[in-house]
């Protein structure tokens, strides 16, 4: 496959972009993709230049646009249920509207994150203590549930009752944590 930008070198990077709610393939060679990201790399203010990067990577090509738009087209545009941002809006601003946008646009986000973060797409750093604590508690509850099942299978009902009480108290603690957090 040949790069659509220079029509010379073989395409090494493949993206999917959304134009008017329609998915389109974008294929660029290393050189053209690098050129598009250069501006962004040298800059200080990330937001503005991230726009350039996105605008470059996902440049809306008139040939991809449909000749006639159906009046129902807009309903097909994916948008965030919490802040109503659409993906084209995100591309224009280079910024999300709220924390829920990450979930809403997760399919489109994956290639963007990989490109921005050297191929990485999942967090490997600090975890808030509050969330870390809950994770720990949830894991313990899951383990207790397994041993509860085992006790029931072996008809050790006295032991099972003890474990059940323990699970209940831990679940109350978990619920308390969530409430306390809000």
């Amino acid at each position: 496959m040949i790069c659509q930008e220079c029509n010379q070198r073989p395409a090494a990077l493949h993206f999917t972009k959304i134009v008017n709610g329609e998915k389109t393939e974008v294929n660029l060679c290393e050189v053209c993709a690098q050129e598009k990201s250069e501006m962004f790399m040298f800059s200080g203010q990330s937001g503005f230049n991230f726009n350039n990067l996105l605008a470059g990577l996902l440049k809306i090509d008139p040939s991809f646009q449909k000749p006639s738009q159906s009046p129902f087209q807009q309903e097909e545009v994916l948008h965030c249920g919490h802040c109503s941002m659409t993906f084209p809006q995100f591309l224009k601003l280079g910024k999300f509207g709220c924390a829920h946008c990450y979930e809403t646009f997760k399919d489109q986000l994956q290639p963007v994150l990989r490109r921005l973060h050297g191929g990485n797409f999942s967090h490997n750093g600090k975890i808030p203590k509050r969330i870390g604590g809950d994770l720990h508690l949830r894991k313990q509850i899951d383990e207790l549930k397994v041993s509860l099942q085992e006790c029931i299978q072996h008809e050790e009902f006295e032991k099972a009752a003890k474990i059940r009480d323990e699970i209940r108290s831990m679940e109350r603690k978990l619920a308390g944590n969530v409430e306390g957090g809000k």
């Binding site: 991230f50 910024k95 990450y102 999942s122 750093g125 203590k129 969330i131």
Partner: protein
């Protein structure tokens, strides 16, 4: 502690104190981006949401405090004069974006100005720790302590897969930007910088001049920072940056030694000519001032100039910017008047140095 205090006490700790490797590294900064879970990002949030965030931060300051870092002052952008904001930008305490485009913004500052917390900038919260010299792990530790303190009162937007959620996906994950400000005249004089910058970019780090526009780095001052925030731990990000910075330090040191060997007298001549310009000029543009300040600082670090404080470069690069000059003049100045003021301020500052020497004798 008032606004006047912040502005009149013009010199922050990162400008005046000497840190590790301060012959080459001027300062180290760690920034962490965080957002409240329940409010929309500043991209779209309402005026009411912005006010609520500031109110929550004010409440938090009233009820708790981080004793270690001392008292903090909250300054609201809409209550500040344009010149006051500009001075804070020139001191790197707030971003141009907060000063210009964030009417609902605010900043929390500690007395020594090592810590600033921007509120309602691109993200709801941006914790910044700015330390003199090369102190990546100290700055990271301080930023983490502040983050832990805030986190015990605020529920931050966090996702198990994506980490801390930020308004721009360039910051998602750790939300960290670690940067080191370096004075690299040796690498410029030996024409190595153009070769080094692309190599550093290959490693996922960004190099840029922090004063001046485009590719020109005024005062030979560069900022090296991480680009990747997702998929690596905060410690690894700092360690990778540290690796590159250590290499740059040793390359700069060998460039300086090479210059001393091959062109000792030319270098000495250059240093003292620049000192002459700074001591005697009556009109000086920022570009010329930056070049001469860089030469003089190099002269101090290489021992050509003795008995002059090293921090003169850091200090005067900041104090001779338009905002500070106007603050010093007590009003608006036209560009030509600024150049006269700049020359006067530099002469005065250098006179203080020679008086200090006389005092010691």
């Amino acid at each position: 502690m008032s606004l006047e205090h912040f502005l009149h006490q013009a010199v922050s700790s990162w400008m005046s104190e000497e840190g590790p490797d301060s012959d080459i590294v001027l300062s180290t900064r760690i920034r962490l981006a965080r957002n409240f879970e329940q409010y929309k990002f500043p991209t779209l949030f309402s005026h009411e949401e912005a006010k609520k965030i500031i109110a929550e931060m004010e409440q938090l300051l009233k009820t708790t405090s981080l004793q270690k870092f001392g008292p903090m002052e909250l300054l609201k952008i809409d209550e500040m004069q344009p010149l006051q904001k500009r001075v804070l930008v020139e001191k790197h305490l707030i971003s141009p974006h907060l000063a210009e485009d964030s009417p609902d913004g605010a900043v929390l500052l500690t007395e020594n100005e090592e810590i600033s917390i921007m509120i309602n900038e691109e993200d709801h919260i941006r914790i910044q720790c700015l330390f003199p010299g090369l102190q990546l792990s100290n700055a990271l530790q301080a930023a983490n302590e502040i983050d832990d303190w805030l986190e015990s009162h605020i529920q931050f937007a966090f996702d198990e897969k994506y980490g801390y959620l930020t308004s721009c996906p360039t910051n998602v994950g750790t939300g960290i930007r670690a940067s080191v400000m370096m004075h690299l005249p040796g690498l410029i004089l030996t024409q190595q910088m153009n070769r080094i910058i692309p190599a550093i970019n290959q490693l996922g780090l960004v190099v840029r001049g922090i004063y001046g526009e485009g590719s020109e780095a005024l005062g030979n001052i560069f900022q090296i920072s991480n680009q990747i925030t997702l998929g690596k731990s905060e410690e690894d990000i700092c360690r990778d940056l540290m690796g590159v910075v250590s290499q740059l330090i040793s390359q700069e040191r060998s460039a300086r030694e090479a210059l001393r060997k091959t062109s000792n007298i030319q270098l000495e001549d250059r240093v003292f000519r620049s000192l002459g310009v700074l001591t005697n000029s009556r009109i000086i543009e920022s570009k010329e001032a930056a070049r001469c300040l860089s030469d003089v600082r190099l002269g101090i670090d290489m021992g050509y100039i003795v008995q002059m404080s090293k921090n003169i470069l850091n200090e005067l690069m900041i104090l001779t910017q338009p905002g500070f000059l106007q603050q010093y003049a007590g009003g608006q100045l036209r560009p030509h008047e600024r150049d006269i003021r700049r020359a006067a301020l530099i002469r005065e500052r250098l006179k203080m140095e020679s008086e200090k020497i006389k005092g010691e004798e």
